[in-house]
């Protein structure tokens, strides 16, 4: 997308899409129920799919079509399906233990977003148009918000989702800033997401069977 002049309506569309993507990560931050998280993640992935598709059409890049399709399949369908399936199987209705309460979480999310914007602005404002700075800033703030989700929520599933949000952020970042990234890289990143999420789900199932809960707040035996 660098060095590419886009028509105005596309600028607006991309701005809107990325804004919604950011909004959905705030939906995750402001929720206490795990199923909200999973649905928000699924919708976020769907928006990223649409964004990738638009960029693919605009740059006539077959690679981006393929990446978009795989994003739809892996991030938008398989991963949320796996997570929801797991919730159904163990009949989870438990609320999430928060170490930082919801209002404080949202404020932290805002601060992280602003921080991401300044970081990106300082890094790349010399050589890219404004529209890309906006989208890249949102991508980077997704990374930060993902990390914040990992450290502030004490449930295995939200920690998995935190990692997935980080991956979404990195994917958005790479699609917007470096659409020429070799296809093989995107493919193996998707494969990696599948493997990691499966492994983490199995681990959390083992944990549920052994300790009776998905909560990570009791994981405090190993210290020092």
């Amino acid at each position: 997308m660098l060095g590419l002049v886009l028509p105005v309506y596309l600028d607006v569309t991309i701005d809107l899409l990325t804004a919604f993507i950011l909004l959905l990560s705030f939906v995750m931050l402001s929720s206490k129920w795990i199923s909200f998280y999973i649905h928000a993640y699924g919708i976020q992935s769907f928006l990223i799919f649409i964004l990738t598709l638009i960029l693919g059409i605009e740059t006539h890049s077959v690679d981006l079509y393929l990446v978009a399709l795989l994003t739809l399949i892996v991030r938008c369908l398989i991963v949320p399906y796996m997570l929801l399936n797991m919730m159904k199987k163990f009949n989870i209705k438990e609320e999430i233990n928060l170490s930082i309460k919801i209002p404080a979480s949202i404020i932290t999310g805002l601060v992280l977003t602003v921080f991401g914007y300044f970081l990106i602005f300082k890094l790349i404002h010399n050589f890219v148009p404004d529209i890309i700075i906006n989208s890249a800033a949102i991508a980077l703030s997704l990374v930060f918000i993902g990390f914040f989700m990992i450290i502030s929520r004490y449930t295995t599933i939200t920690q998995i989702l935190g990692l997935l949000v980080i991956e979404n952020g990195i994917f958005l970042f790479s699609v917007i800033l470096t659409p020429t990234l070799p296809l093989i890289v995107e493919l193996v990143v998707l494969f990696d997401i599948l493997v990691t999420v499966t492994a983490m789900l199995i681990l959390s199932m083992v944990m549920k069977i052994k300790t009776g809960s998905f909560s990570t707040s009791m994981l405090n035996r190993l210290v020092g």
Binding site: F127, Q159, V185, D192, V195, M207, R221
Partner: protein, 503 residues
């Protein structure tokens, strides 16, 4: 050459799957042992081949084995070989003492081979992003090895491991994307777009000067944080003592002695690119600062530890700090010393972890205070354990001593006396702390009548079989030999790697 590389990669894969399919315990043990021996032979063959050639390239540059890769492969293969030998002894005791089920046993043998495979693949990949994904796969396979015996503690360790390291790898991927971006935007002002559209380190390293400097600065820091999580550099080391202490002893060894080196290899590839782009001062300063902090955290951990395996896990952290300090000081001595320290680390860590495994099965505990009088109960293990501890803390003659001495020499040569003084103080503290703890475990009691295990049962005397002693004896002999004399082919080889890194 193609066929040899193929065999090299297929050996662990086939033996792992065969171990799972045939479900015969002896067969699983021996096929893993044979495959690891085959891997070791092939890795030595690479070494001999690369003495005379620059590199092995295959599949349109997708696979490149140069001297540095071959060296890391050798380190991984050595530890894989030792661990597969030690597993024969360790897993039989795990079945007897800890009630390991058949399913867990065969899963262990599948995963140990896959873990070795993922580590052997990592150094030969040319594409940096693929390398990172492969490192992520090592995390997945080894986190399941950590829960070989499913207990609440091991689940906790595995969970911390996979969450912390996966997020670390995400940061490293972000850094890699920035490296790619740095190659793609430079040309805009000059009217050339997409000068370096590649993530191959060969390409990036050859065209490093064309990368955007600001982006490379940030990207290198992200890489050090991200891959540093896997290496165990402080303050990203928190998963390491947990995973190392809860995994079975052969796996702790593979985690410590080969996985950390494999991740360090990645940092050094980026180090080379960043150094060529920014001048070597910038990445070197980062490595020095993080290295010193890591040594400090490692030594503080060593002083505070109450269990055997956590002690050596913190010692791994300390060694990784020394290695990154060595690379950070740079120069011929520093880099050579750091590379030699990698080998030394891979040789002396197995002795200690396998020894701790033997003690665990004798005394049924990892608590240092509860283990007394090993010299009476297991004299051979005790001898190897003490000798191993001496080589580990860097008493001459040992490979660790040579590595640490060279790094110290470089700091003197550069006139960074501040670093030398801190390093000497920390090394001496580690020396005293480790030897005091080992001393209390090995000797500890005045006579051999009053030695009980954690369940207050009288301990039967005698060592375990050959399979538990040989994996300790082989690296001990090697590390003492290397402390006395470095063969000239090895020296030539390491000098070649030094040229690759700081050229």
């Amino acid at each position: 050459m193609k066929i040899i590389v193929l065999i090299f990669l297929l050996l662990p894969l086939i033996s792992g799957i065969a171990a799972l399919i045939f479900r015969n315990k002896r067969f699983a043990e021996y096929i893993t042992f044979i495959s690891s021996a085959g891997t070791l032979v092939i890795s030595i063959y690479y070494l001999l081949f690369l003495l005379h050639f620059h590199s092995i390239t295959l599949l349109n540059n997708a696979i490149i084995i140069d001297k540095f890769s071959a060296y890391i492969i050798l380190l991984v293969a050595i530890v894989y070989f030792l661990s597969s030998m030690y597993s024969i002894s360790y897993m039989r005791f795990a079945i007897k003492n800890e009630g390991l089920t058949d399913n867990e046993f065969f899963r262990y043998y599948l995963l140990i081979n896959l873990f070795a495979l993922t580590m052997l693949v990592a150094p030969i990949l040319n594409n940096l992003a693929l390398y990172l994904i492969d490192i992520e796969l090592t995390t997945v396979t080894s986190s399941f090895l950590v829960i070989t015996e499913i207990t609440e503690k091991s689940i906790e360790a595995a969970w911390k491991y996979i969450v912390i390291v996966s997020s670390g790898i995400s940061i490293a991927i972000l850094g890699t994307v920035l490296f790619y971006l740095a190659g793609n935007i430079h040309g805009i002002h000059h009217g050339i777009y997409g000068i370096i559209s590649s993530l191959d380190w060969t390409v990036l390293s050859a065209h490093a000067v064309y990368l955007n400097k600001d982006l490379v600065k940030i990207a290198f820091i992200l890489i050090v944080i991200g891959l540093g999580t896997k290496v165990g550099l402080a303050p990203m080391h928190t998963w390491l003592p947990d995973a190392h202490s809860e995994a079975p002893a052969p796996i702790s060894t593979m985690l410590s002695a080969s996985l950390l080196n494999t991740a360090m290899y990645g940092i050094m590839r980026y180090f080379n690119i960043a150094g060529k782009n920014l001048g070597f001062n910038y990445p070197q300063e980062i490595m020095i600062i993080i290295g010193l902090f890591t040594i400090f955290i490692g030594v503080m951990g060593i002083i505070n530890q109450k269990t055997t395996k956590r002690l050596f896990a913190y010692s791994s952290i300390e060694h990784m700090g020394i290695i990154s300090l060595g690379f950070g000081l740079g120069g011929v001595f520093g880099t050579f010393g750091a590379l030699f320290q990698m080998l030394a680390h891979s040789l002396s860590k197995p002795i200690m972890f396998y020894g701790s495994g033997n003690l665990l099965h004798k005394y049924k505990t990892k608590d240092i205070k509860a283990i007394k009088g090993v010299i009476y109960t297991m004299p051979k293990t005790a001898f190897l354990y003490v000798a191993g501890a001496l080589t580990l803390v860097g008493a001459p003659p040992s490979a660790v001593f040579i590595g640490e001495f060279l790094i110290l020499l470089e700091s003197f040569k550069k006139g960074d006396y501040f670093i030398s003084v801190i390093l000497i103080i920390l090394l001496i503290s580690a020396f005293i702390a480790i030897l005091a703890k080992i001393n209390s475990m090995i000797f500890g009691v005045s006579n051999d009548e009053s030695i009980y295990d954690i369940n207050n049962l009288k301990i039967t005397k005698g060592d375990f079989g050959l399979a538990s002693l040989m994996p300790m004896a082989i690296p001990l002999i090697l590390t003492i030999f290397l402390g006395l004399y470095i063969p000239s082919p090895l020296k030539l080889f390491l000098n070649g790697i030094v040229r690759i890194i700081i050229k």
